[in-house]
């Protein structure tokens, strides 16, 4: 895992626990082996992150599910998958032969909405149960656009208040299928400090 030196061990731990929990839930949801790996947890300049996504993957059409997790340490959650992966995920969740879903429809959008909702709740639970931070998810918002546009919308609220944000980035691997999905977890301004404080306090107490 690549990580920035500014990310504390506590945040690294919470990120790892979150993706482990999300892996278990995803496997159960799609009834197929799924593994989510934590690729990077880092602090980055918001404009640099946006520029990088725009330069590298802007042409990719994705469907994403954004959830705001409100509470003691509010954060934004984004789950997205590229277009072919969304079709595969829809067949998997409906327990039917992969390949039957050939075009975007309300069920494809809804599949991504629901996976985002369930996985955001799983991540939220790591905060709530392991670190005793009260958190509650809001209903997911589904977005279907080019990745650069989706990412810009995702960071919009936080970018207005600060230049640097913490991003926890992970990738999915699903057995037998080439499914490309990504999660971003973006703490609201101030939340990363709260998370650090609570995690460090609890880790010292253990």
């Amino acid at each position: 895992m690549e990580k920035d030196s500014k990310i504390s061990k506590a945040v690294e731990l919470i990120a790892q626990l979150s993706v482990d929990r999300a892996s278990q839930v995803l496997s159960k949801l799609i009834r197929s082996g799924a593994r989510i790996t934590l690729e990077r947890a880092y602090m980055t300049d918001i404009s640099e992150a946006t520029a990088k996504i725009n330069a590298q993957e802007n042409q990719a059409e994705v469907i994403g599910s954004m959830v705001d997790m409100m509470g003691d340490a509010p954060f934004k959650f984004l789950f997205y998958a590229d277009a072919p992966s969304c079709l595969i995920l829809t067949d998997l969740i409906l327990q039917r032969e992969v390949g039957l879903t050939k075009e975007f429809n309300i069920y494809v959008r809804s599949t991504i909405q629901e996976i985002g909702n369930i996985m955001a709740s799983a991540v939220c639970n790591v905060f709530a149960s392991d670190f005793e931070i009260a958190m509650k998810p809001t209903p997911p918002k589904v977005v279907h656009d080019f990745l650069g546009t989706v990412f810009q919308e995702f960071v919009m609220g936080t970018a207005a208040e600060r230049d640097e944000v913490m991003i926890i980035e992970s990738r999915f691997y699903i057995v037998r299928y080439d499914v490309k999905c990504t999660i971003y977890i973006l703490p609201f301004p101030g939340s990363d400090k709260t998370i650090n404080y609570i995690c460090n306090t609890r880790l010292k107490g253990e």
Binding site: L29, L94, Q113, E114, A120, C124, A128, K136, P139
Partner: protein, 122 residues
């Protein structure tokens, strides 16, 4: 006569999955709603035997809708559905008067077990 069920969930894919399970097992899905407001309205219109109600929904959430339905009909049977690990919301729904609960992602057996329990078949 088949049990008459109203499904309330903002995700069409979940409504489809629940409907498939219920219809395949002899229940009649009399209506669907996509948020708490529609859930309350359709309960008034359709008078179903059982409601499956998602908790996290836009406009009016499942707990508010559950409260309104129970205020209209204290014998209403509402099974709440929530994403895994939303324990606080689940406890609140049970405190308000939910008849049972289902956790997402769900298995067919768990859905049927909750429905049968509420219908007194289990």
């Amino acid at each position: 006569m088949a049990g008459r069920i109203l499904i309330v969930d903002d995700a069409p894919i979940i409504r489809l999955m629940l409907k498939d399970i219920l219809v395949a097992n002899g229940y009649e899905v009399v209506g669907e709603g996509s948020d708490g407001n529609e859930g309350v309205q359709k309960y008034k219109e359709l008078k179903p035997d059982v409601v499956t109600m998602d908790i996290t929904m836009p406009e009016k959430d499942g707990i508010q809708a559950l409260e309104e339905i129970l205020a209209m009909d204290e014998d209403a049977k509402v099974i709440v559905i929530t994403a895994i690990d939303q324990r606080e919301a689940l406890m609140e729904a049970i405190r308000v008067g939910a008849a049972d609960y289902i956790i997402k992602p769900f298995e067919t057996d768990r859905v049927l077990s909750a429905i049968r329990k509420v219908f007194g078949e289990g």
